[in-house]
């Protein structure tokens, strides 16, 4: 039977486990002599390591910092805002030159950003934006424009349709990302914008549902779509993983992905390019995680007091099938 002592042991055990999990991993912080004014010290707080995209992002920042000869203090917030706030506070206490972070959530940053401002440490956001009352709290955002990715996906679909010699109505199935996530909302918005403007009468999104950015989700939702709307002839997936899952369902239904159903997706992960080189995805709009070099460039400018744009968009490309084979070796993630 459960007695008080056992319960206490359990509680302590769980508390200890929680504390361990909450401890942000700090590494790369081999603090070179802070007196040496030449090296720039950059404090970087990452969201976590939830996907292949994210780990590619982390690797890019680390290797770019090494290449640029910066002293990088890296911490992983493990998807928790409080971890990120305490990491930023510790960077302020350590008097780093520039703080960069990928915010876990959109709101709740005013207090800690004001502390950074008071300490005269410039803040650069990467990948995701924040909502603040005071725009001067951060210098710039280095990241992707998700709405534009949606627009580019619609534009590249035009090319795909022309190339496939498609005639007649375009019936689109859309696999959305996680409900409420910025990329999901904005990619859908951008796509719809172009569709409503230029293709109001011939394009139609007949079904749209969330696949949670996962392969299993994409597969299951697509299987149901193919039953309820067998006449779908285009798939727009908000990321490659959902497209890869959907391809399996399309094949199970006895149809040919890339031929019977034209597929356009966003991200450009390695497996997506593999599928595209096999002819199963027609086009991919890149969402580039390798923003390390651009970030280091911005950090240098900010440190030297040069003015930078409010939003520095990552360099991204659009890829059609004929480019897939050539681009495949360059995919690192």
């Amino acid at each position: 039977m459960l007695n008080r002592r056992n319960f206490l042991t359990a509680a302590i055990g769980v508390a200890a486990a929680g504390t361990l999990a909450a401890c942000a991993k700090e590494d790369g912080g081999s603090s070179t002599s802070s007196g040496g004014s030449k090296t720039i010290t950059l404090g970087f707080s990452q969201v976590g390591s939830e996907s292949g995209w994210r780990s590619a992002n982390t690797d890019s920042v680390k290797s770019a910092a090494k290449e640029a000869g910066y002293n990088l203090k890296f911490s992983d917030a493990q998807q928790k805002q409080e971890n990120q706030i305490s990491a930023i506070r510790s960077y302020i206490a350590q008097k780093v030159d520039v703080i960069a972070f990928s915010p876990v959530v959109v709101t709740g940053w005013d207090a800690v950003l004001k502390e950074a401002k008071a300490a005269k440490i410039p803040v650069v956001l990467t990948d995701r934006s924040v909502e603040t009352s005071d725009q001067s709290l951060y210098v710039t955002l280095v990241g992707s424009d998700f709405t534009d990715e949606g627009r580019r996906a619609a534009r590249i679909l035009e090319k795909v349709l022309t190339k496939a010699g498609h005639k007649g109505a375009v019936k689109i199935a859309q696999l959305e990302g996680t409900t409420g996530a910025a990329p999901a909302i904005e990619r859908a918005k951008g796509f719809k914008e172009v569709m409503d403007a230029d293709h109001a009468d011939d394009w139609k999104i007949v079904v749209s549902q969330t696949g949670d950015f996962t392969r299993a989700g994409g597969k299951q939702v697509m299987a149901a779509f193919l039953q309820s709307n067998p006449d779908v002839n285009v798939l727009f997936a908000h990321n490659d993983d959902m497209a890869i899952g959907a391809i399996q369902s399309i094949e199970a239904a006895g149809k040919k992905p890339g031929k019977d159903i034209l597929i356009v997706s966003i991200d450009g992960v390695k497996d997506g390019f593999v599928a595209m080189s096999e002819g199963k995805i027609n086009a991919i709009v890149e969402c580039n995680p390798l923003l390390g070099p651009q970030l280091m460039d911005v950090v240098k400018k900010v440190k030297n007091g040069e003015s930078v744009e409010r939003w520095i968009k990552t360099k991204e490309g659009d890829y059609m099938q004929d480019q897939a084979k050539a681009a495949l070796p360059s995919r690192k993630y």
Binding site: M1, L2, N3, N6, F7, T9, A10, A11, G13, V14, A17, G18, A21, S49, E50, S51, G52, R54, S55, E176, T179, G180, V207, S208, Q209, T210, D212, T214, R215, A216, G217, K219, Q220, V221, A223, A224, F225, Q227, S228, D241, I244, G245, Q248, A252, A253, G254, D271, V274, Y333
Partner: protein, 361 residues
């Protein structure tokens, strides 16, 4: 007379309401998908909505069957989702390291490794609950939280894609024109039913759930029974993990089996097993899992807007749980029941599962 009494006996059968809800949900699809019940032959295997429901629902059925026995002992296992992730991650990472991913022997070895990991997780849970007397919800929370980290450690934070024909069979392949996973599920369910209903094991599980201390005093090794059900539950979750990773030919340490523990608990509850322990219904659990999978498919086919998905799901679950509650039925259908006979109060004394609302997530 006889038809009405037969009807009454039928509605009082413990599987009547879950089955009724399942049938109703399936029928809801018909106006939206005219040939919902049609099953065709495609590429040498059966293809249709019903086949997809069973195929995608298989992992949930397995996890829920394991969960049923744990709940029958008065426990709960929150770690199943993490076990799914660990098993898939370990198996796929082993297969991806092989030179020949299609070799049957290495695939079997990989699956064995994955299942051993699942057994270890089950032993750990059982040890904490039975030996250390830690509350099940806390004991299994440890692996629920830490296990996903372990899975990500194994996969290095990446999605591991494999290309192995034999491994594809268990979760995504077909045998005798049917999804192979159906055979796996049927085998596991058959073995479980045989062991629990044809031997004394089921009775022992129920008695431990009813009162562990009393069971011990009458000579039942309740500790051993408890450890056994946690190991069984973890093995079921492990097989489900193999299926999920095989279905997409990839191991996703971060998302595989995410929240499956909640769906499994819900399936168990819909199936009529009491969360208080002491009695269980494997058949009910299987129906409950099918209800949940059908509900998911229904949401996709009838075009519920993404933002209202969960609200729709919650509404259906609330209706199901209310229908399951004898008290509620007595209140709503009370007038007719009173005319028919005074049998209702006896049924109303049964626990009406007040907990399900918690699982609506």
């Amino acid at each position: 007379m006889t038809t009405t009494s037969r009807w009454r006996a039928l509605t009082r059968h413990n599987l009547f309401w879950p089955v009724a809800v399942l049938v109703a949900l399936l029928l809801v699809n018909v106006p939206f998908t005219p040939d919902f019940f049609a099953i065709h032959m495609t590429n040498g295997h059966l293809y249709g909505s019903l086949v997809s429901i069973v195929l995608f629902g298989s992992p949930l059925i397995l996890v829920a069957v394991g969960m049923t026995l744990v709940i029958a002992t008065g426990g709960i296992d929150l770690s199943v989702g993490a076990v799914v992730a660990i098993t898939g991650a370990l198996t796929c990472s082993y297969i991806s390291d092989q030179a020949d991913q299609g070799a049957l022997s290495s695939v079997l070895l990989a699956m064995g490794l994955g299942l051993i990991a699942a057994v270890v997780c089950g032993l750990w849970n059982g040890f904490l609950v039975a030996r250390m007397g830690i509350q099940p919800i806390i004991a299994t929370l440890i692996i629920m939280v830490a296990g996903r980290g372990v899975a990500q450690l194994i996969t290095d934070g990446q999605i591991i894609t494999i290309n192995s024909e034999p491994y594809k069979l268990i979760g995504g392949g077909y045998w005798l024109t049917l999804p192979f996973s159906i055979f796996v599920v049927a085998a596991v369910v058959a073995v479980t039913v045989l062991l629990t209903r044809r031997t004394a094991l089921g009775l022992l599980v129920e008695s431990v759930g009813g009162n562990a201390e009393a069971s011990r005093l009458v000579g039942i090794r309740s500790m051993r029974i408890k450890i056994m059900v946690y190991v069984f539950c973890a093995v079921c979750a492990g097989i489900a993990g193999l299926m999920i990773s095989s279905n997409t030919s990839a191991a996703d340490g971060n998302n595989a089996g995410l929240w499956i523990e909640l769906d499994a608990i819900l399936a168990v509850v819909i199936g009529g097993t009491s969360l208080l322990g002491g009695r269980f219904s494997i058949g009910g659990t299987v129906i409950g899992a099918l209800v949940i999978q059908t509900l998911t498919t229904t949401i996709y086919t009838i075009g519920v807007p993404t933002q209202t998905n969960l609200v729709f799901k919650a509404a259906v679950v609330i209706v199901v749980c209310l229908l399951q509650s004898p008290k509620f039925r007595a209140k709503v259908f009370g007038a007719r029941a009173k005319a028919a006979g005074p049998a209702v109060p006896a049924a109303a004394a049964e626990p009406a599962d007040p907990a399900p609302k918690m699982e609506v997530s």
